[in-house]
C-alpha cells in the first residue's frame, strides 16, 4: 500500500518548475502588466513629488505625550520606492513570482506603492501615521467580522447577502439591551443572538424552502432595516436615556504588547470586541481548514452530492455553518453601537454589510484573504478622509472609488483566480 502511493507520487509529482500551462502564463502576464501599470503610476507620482520634507506623525497632536515624528525627504524616497515597484513588477512579468519569496515581494510592492503615494500627497505636510492605522482598524473591524460571516455561509454553499441585515439587527439589539441591563457584555450577547436570528431566517428559507438566496438576502436586509426602524420609532426614540444610551466599550490595553512603539498603541489598546475580531479570524481559519467539521463545510459547499454519498448530513452542516456565521455577523453589528459610537440610529450601518460582501469576494472566499481585503478597504477609506484634511491635490472621489475598482479588477479574474465555492447558492435536494 505504502509502496504503491510512493511510486504513484514519484510518477506524477515531479513537474519541472519552469514549465507552466498556457493558462498560467496568460495569468502571469496579465498580472505583471497590471502591476507594471500601477508601478508606472507610482513613477509618475514620484516624478511630480515636491522636493520637500514629508512628516509622518507617530501620535495625534493632542496626545498626552507626543511621540517624535519620522521626517523624510519626499522626492528621493518616492523615486527610490517607485523604482522598487517597477523592479517587482518586471520580475513577475519576466520570471513569475511564487512561494514565500513571492508573497514577500508583493508585500514590498504594496508598501512601496503606498509610501510613494503618500510622499507625493503629503510632501511639505504632516501625515498622521498612527491615526491612519487606528482609523483603518476602526473602519475594517465590522467589515472583517461581516466578511468572516460571509465566508462561513458561502463555504457551505449558502449565499449570504443579508450581512447588512445582521449588522443592523445586532447593532440595535446591542444598543437597547446594553442600556436596559446596564452591561455592555449583555449587549454584545444580544447582538450575537440577533445576528443568529437573521441567520436562522436565512437558513430556513434558503435550505428548507430553497428560496433564491440572493433575493432572500436582499429581502432580509430590508426586513431588518424595517423592523429595527419600526421598533426604534415606537419604543426607543422618545426614551433614548432609558433605551438608547449604552455608552461605548473602553479600551483594554494588553500588557507588554501595547507598549510596542507605533503599532502597539493601535492594535493592542483596543476594546474586547476588536480582540474578539482578531480571535475570530484565527478561529474561522483554523476551523475551516484544520478540523473535520471545516472539511465537511467545504465539501458541502463544493460538491454536496459527493458529501452526501459519504454520509455527511448536508443540510445539517449548512444550518450549522449559517448559524455560526450569524454569531460572527452579530458581533460585527455590536461594533456599530456599543463597540464604537454608542446609541443606535436608523440604518446607521450605511451599506457596510455589502462592502463586507465585496471584501469576501475580493478575498477569494478565504478568511485571511477576506481580512486583508477588508483592511485594504478600511485603509483607503481612512486615507481618503485624512488626505482631505491636509488638502492634497487628489480629488477625494477618486480615492473613495479606488477599493471598489480594485474589487472589480479582482472579481474579473485579472489578479489570480477568483472562484466561488462550486455549489454556492444552490439548494441541495436529496435524491
Amino acid at each position: 500500500m505504502n509502496d504503491a502511493t510512493t511510486t504513484l507520487t514519484r510518477e506524477t509529482a515531479p513537474v519541472p518548475a519552469t514549465l507552466e500551462s498556457p493558462d498560467e502564463r496568460r495569468r502571469r502576464i496579465r498580472m505583471g502588466v497590471l502591476a507594471l501599470v500601477l508601478a508606472g503610476i507610482g513613477v509618475l507620482l514620484a516624478a511630480f513629488t515636491a522636493p520637500e520634507t514629508v512628516t509622518f506623525a507617530l501620535s495625534g497632536q493632542l496626545a498626552d505625550s507626543p511621540l517624535s515624528a519620522i521626517k523624510l525627504p519626499a522626492l528621493p524616497v518616492a523615486l527610490a520606492l517607485a523604482a522598487c515597484t517597477v523592479a517587482v513588477a518586471l520580475a513577475h512579468l519576466l520570471r513569475g513570482l511564487s512561494g514565500r519569496l513571492g508573497v514577500l515581494l508583493w508585500a514590498v510592492f504594496g508598501l512601496a506603492f503606498v509610501v510613494t503615494f503618500l510622499c507625493w500627497a503629503a510632501a511639505g505636510k504632516t501625515f498622521p501615521l498612527t491615526n491612519q492605522l487606528q482609523g483603518t482598524l476602526n473602519l475594517a473591524t465590522p467589515l472583517i467580522l461581516g466578511a468572516l460571516a460571509g465566508v462561513l455561509c458561502e463555504r457551505a454553499g449558502v449565499i449570504n447577502v443579508a450581512i447588512e441585515g445582521q449588522f443592523l439587527a445586532g447593532a440595535f439589539a446591542a444598543a437597547v439591551l446594553a442600556t436596559v441591563t446596564g452591561s455592555l457584555l449583555a449587549g454584545v450577547v444580544a447582538a450575537v443572538l440577533a445576528g443568529v436570528l437573521i441567520a436562522a431566517m436565512l437558513a430556513v428559507f434558503a435550505i428548507r424552502y430553497r428560496v433564491n438566496q440572493v433575493v432572500l438576502g436582499v429581502v432580509l436586509v430590508v426586513f431588518a432595516s424595517g423592523i429595527t426602524g419600526f421598533l426604534f420609532d415606537q419604543f426607543v426614540k422618545g426614551e433614548s436615556a432609558k433605551f438608547n444610551n449604552p455608552g461605548v466599550m473602553s479600551a483594554v490595553p494588553i500588557p507588554v504588547l501595547s507598549s510596542i512603539p507605533v503599532i502597539g498603541e493601535t492594535f493592542f489598546r483596543q476594546t474586547l470586541l476588536v480582540y474578539t475580531m482578531y480571535a475570530a479570524v484565527a478561529i474561522v481559519t483554523f476551523v475551516l481548514f484544520k478540523t473535520r467539521w471545516g472539511l465537511r463545510v467545504r465539501a458541502v459547499g463544493e460538491h454536496p452530492r459527493a458529501a452526501d454519498t459519504v454520509g455527511i448530513k448536508v443540510l445539517r452542516v449548512r444550518y450549522q455553518a449559517v448559524l455560526a456565521g450569524g454569531v460572527v455577523a452579530g458581533l460585527g453589528g455590536a461594533f456599530f453601537t456599543v463597540g464604537f459610537t454608542g446609541g443606535f440610529d436608523k440604518d446607521l450601518t450605511a451599506g457596510q454589510g455589502f462592502i463586507a460582501l465585496a471584501a469576501l469576494i475580493m478575498g477569494r472566499w478565504h478568511p485571511l484573504g477576506a481580512t486583508i481585503a477588508a483592511l485594504f478597504f478600511g485603509f483607503t477609506q481612512q486615507l481618503q478622509g485624512q488626505l482631505q484634511i491636509i488638502e492634497t491635490p487628489i480629488p477625494s472621489e477618486l480615492l473613495i472609488m479606488a477599493p471598489y475598482l480594485a474589487t472589480v479588477v479582482a472579481v474579473a479574474g485579472l489578479v489570480g483566480r477568483v472562484r466561488a465555492p462550486k455549489a454556492d447558492g444552490e439548494p441541495y435536494v436529496k435524491g
Binding site: 495625534g60 497632536q61 493632542l62 426614540k237 433614548s240 436615556a241 482631505q388 473613495i400
Partner: protein, 379 residues
C-alpha cells in the same frame, strides 16, 4: 400580541388599498372642492385639511433638520387641529414615490424637507397646481427647467430658506476664541449648498477672529476660497462620522463642527471620547435638547428655526393666505441663531460672549458682510 399585530397588518393593508385607489384627476377635483369649504369656514374644515410632509433620506429622527421640520408639522397640527400625513424617505430614490403618495393622500399642503427633494417638488407642484407646497432649504427659483422638463417654475411653492452662514459665523468666532490648540475642524455630509453654507460661515467667523485678534487659528476640513473640504459622503454612517472627527482631532483640532446630520453624531461621540480635550458645536437644532447625552461637550449649537417656518406655511395655507414669496430665516428675524450655551455658560469668558452679541448686532446692521456665495437672497 398576535391580535395586535394582525390588526396592524389589516390597517396597513387598508392604507395601501386606500392610497392606491385615489386616481389623480378625481382627487385633484376633490381637493379643489375642499379648498372652497375651507375658505368659507376655516376652523370648521380643520379635519378635512390635510398637511403633509416628506423627509429626505435622513429620516424624521435625524436629531437635525428633518426632525425640526417635523416638529413644525406637529405644532401646526396641535394649533389648528388639521389632519396630517407623513412619508419618510429611506433613500434618494424614494422621493418620487413619497411625494406622489402625499399627492394621492389628498394633501392640501405638502412640505418637503431638504435640498435633495427640490426637483421632485418642482415636478409635483407643476402637476398639481391646486396643492400648496413648501420646501425647506431649496430655492424653487433655482430649479433647473431642462433637467426637470418643466416649462416654468411652479408658482404654488414657497421656499423656506435660512441664512445659516450668519449664525455659523458666530459659531466660528466662538470656536476660534475657545480653541486652545489654535486649530478648529469641521466636516460635512455632502458638498451641497445647505451643508457648505454652515462651513462657509464657520470659516469666515474664524478668519474674522484672526483678523480682529491678530491670531492665526486654522480651520481644518474646509476652505471657503477653494470650496474644498472634508465630507463623510452620506448622512447616516455614524462610525464614519466618528472616524472623520478623530482624523481632525489627530491633526490638532480641539473644537469640531460636524454638519452631517446623524453621521455628525459620531463626531460628538469622538469629542466625548477625548475626555475633555475636544469639544463640539452642533447644527440645526439645540444639541442639548435633541441629543442630551452629548450636552457636556457642546459649546453651543447653530439653530435653524425650520419648525417656525414650516408651521407658518401650513397655517397660511390653511387660512387661504398662502403666498410664494420665499421665507429667509436670518439673525434679524430669529430664523437662525446660536442656541444657549447650557453647561458651557459659566466656562465661556464673558468678554467673548459680549463680543459675539456685538457681532450679531453688526451682522444684522450690515456692518459685517458675509461673503459666502451660497447664502439665500433676502426678499
Amino acid at each position: 400580541m398576535s391580535k395586535y399585530l394582525k390588526g396592524l397588518a389589516v390597517l396597513g393593508a387598508m392604507t395601501l388599498v386606500v392610497t392606491a385607489c385615489g386616481s389623480r384627476p378625481t382627487e385633484s377635483n376633490q381637493s379643489e372642492g375642499s379648498d372652497k369649504t375651507n375658505s368659507a369656514s376655516p376652523q370648521a374644515g380643520a379635519k378635512d385639511f390635510r398637511a403633509c410632509m416628506v423627509s429626505d433620506s435622513g429620516g424624521f429622527d435625524d436629531k437635525s433638520f428633518n426632525q425640526t421640520s417635523y416638529k413644525g408639522l406637529l405644532d401646526a397640527k396641535k394649533e389648528l387641529g388639521v389632519s396630517s400625513s407623513t412619508a419618510e424617505s429611506k433613500s434618494d430614490g424614494d422621493y418620487p414615490k413619497n411625494v406622489g403618495g402625499m399627492v394621492d393622500a389628498k394633501c392640501n399642503v405638502i412640505v418637503t424637507v431638504g435640498f435633495k427633494l427640490g426637483d421632485q417638488t418642482a415636478i409635483s407642484a407643476s402637476e398639481n397646481p391646486t396643492i400648496k407646497f413648501g420646501i425647506v432649504d431649496y430655492d424653487i427659483k433655482a430649479t433647473d427647467l431642462k433637467k426637470t422638463n418643466l416649462k416654468e417654475v411652479p408658482t404654488n411653492v414657497k421656499s423656506l430658506l435660512f441664512n445659516t452662514a450668519q449664525s455659523s459665523f458666530l459659531a466660528g468666532y466662538l470656536a476660534a476664541g475657545m480653541s486652545k490648540s489654535g486649530k478648529v475642524g469641521t466636516f460635512g455630509g455632502l458638498p451641497i449648498p445647505t451643508v457648505t453654507i454652515f462651513m462657509d460661515g464657520f470659516w469666515e467667523g474664524v478668519q474674522y477672529f484672526n483678523q480682529q485678534k491678530k491670531k492665526n487659528v486654522q480651520v481644518l476640513g474646509w476652505n471657503e476660497t477653494t470650496q474644498k473640504g472634508l465630507f463623510t459622503n452620506d448622512f447616516e454612517n455614524k462610525a464614519q462620522g466618528k472616524n472623520t472627527a478623530s482624523n481632525l482631532i489627530s491633526q490638532g483640532a480641539d473644537i469640531v463642527f460636524p454638519v452631517a446630520g446623524p453621521a455628525g453624531l459620531g463626531g460628538l461621540e469622538a469629542a466625548k471620547a477625548s475626555g475633555g480635550k475636544v469639544n463640539a458645536i452642533w447644527v440645526d437644532t439645540d444639541g442639548c435638547v435633541s441629543a442630551p447625552e452629548y450636552c457636556n461637550v457642546l459649546l453651543t449649537s447653530v439653530d435653524k428655526g425650520m419648525d417656525v417656518a414650516v408651521q407658518d406655511v401650513i397655517t397660511t395655507s390653511f387660512q387661504d393666505k398662502f403666498d410664494n414669496t420665499p421665507y429667509v430665516g436670518t439673525l434679524d428675524n430669529g430664523g437662525t441663531g446660536l442656541a444657549p450655551y447650557h453647561e458651557w455658560d459659566s466656562k465661556i469668558p464673558a468678554d467673548l460672549k459680549a463680543e459675539i452679541d456685538q457681532l450679531k448686532k453688526d451682522i444684522i446692521d450690515g456692518k459685517i458682510a458675509i461673503k459666502s456665495k451660497v447664502q439665500p437672497q433676502s426678499q
